[in-house]
């Protein structure tokens, strides 16, 4: 059996606690209330987000690794966790001044922040907002084919 025919991915989980408020300036107060329900509470609320980062690449025969976890941890800490953990997504993350910080949009923002990880290819990010809700983003088709 050829080793090359197998495709291995590495998944790593992180947690961060952040607050957000779902409110679209394009909707009226009443519509915001109807669409977002209690997530539209003007004072916001928070979650313990679980971020799952998935990478693919060749397993380095010297280390047995797709990527060294210390490098990945440092990259995710610098590009995501430092800015997101114990912060308000709406107030502290520039991308969410204009965009509603739903977990769908959070996946896209984090994917773009991590896609330049230099040691392996970012395959997808998956975020659990609560134990019952999770979202995934694997880049758009153009990015996948470039």
């Amino acid at each position: 059996m050829k080793k090359d025919a197998l495709h291995v991915e590495l998944g790593r989980r992180y947690q961060f606690a952040a607050s957000h408020r779902l409110h679209s300036p394009q909707l009226s107060e009443e519509e915001n209330c109807r669409v977002y329900g209690k997530c539209n509470n003007p004072y916001g609320h928070g979650h313990n987000y679980v971020l799952e980062v998935c990478l693919s690449g060749k397993i380095d025969p010297a280390t047995g690794m797709i990527a060294n976890l210390a490098d990945l941890d440092a990259f995710v800490t610098r590009h995501v966790l430092e800015e997101f953990d114990h912060h308000s997504l709406n107030e502290d993350v520039p991308a969410f001044r204009e965009t509603v910080p739903t977990t769908e949009n959070l996946c896209i923002e984090i994917f773009h922040r991590l896609k330049n990880f230099p040691h392996a290819k970012l395959v997808r990010v998956r975020i659990q907002e609560t134990a019952n809700n999770s979202f995934e983003y694997a880049g758009n088709m153009e990015e996948n084919h470039s």
């Binding site: 197998l6 495709h7 291995v8 590495l10 397993i59 010297a62 280390t63």
Partner: protein, 142 residues
């Protein structure tokens, strides 16, 4: 096509050390995983098989048979073992999650005769896992 997943747990010890690197490089690259006395994990393995349910039994494959394959190929080889010294399939490789997942794929794939092995996911801890696919399966999944 339907995907069926069975989960098992096993406990094993390992250490990361590449004899071609200096002691200092081993420590720098592998950190505390380079401790010469090793350490251990409770591994969780999720094995996913793809197939069409048999019209007579309604099953993709007989779970009892899958359970026996996992017992024989994985549990007996790896449970309560030292992965560096007691698993010949891993000889010469650093027993990272990536390499163990790949070896488990190679052990299971020829044994699964009903349905087709779709994914092997191995958790070393709740925070770290590796997925192994055949290349065509991962393209379908993406």
């Amino acid at each position: 096509m339907v995907l069926l997943t069975r989960k098992i747990e096993f406990s094993a010890s390992h250490l990361y050390h590449n004899p071609n690197l200096s002691a200092e490089e081993n420590r720098r690259i592998f950190g505390k995983c380079n401790n010469p006395h090793g350490h251990g994990h409770n591994y969780t393995l999720e094995v996913t098989v793809a197939g069409s349910p048999d019209p007579v039994t309604g099953m993709v494959l007989d779970l009892k048979e899958l359970k026996e394959i996992l017992e024989r190929e994985v549990m007996q080889r790896m449970d309560h073992r030292h992965l560096n010294y007691e698993v010949p399939e891993l000889a010469g490789q650093i027993p990272t999650c990536e390499n163990i997942a790949r070896v488990i794929w190679q052990l299971l794939e020829p044994r699964i005769t009903q349905g087709k092995l779709h994914r092997v996911r191995l958790y070393e801890s709740p925070e770290l896992f590796a997925d192994c696919y055949r290349n065509d399966a991962s393209e379908v999944a993406n």
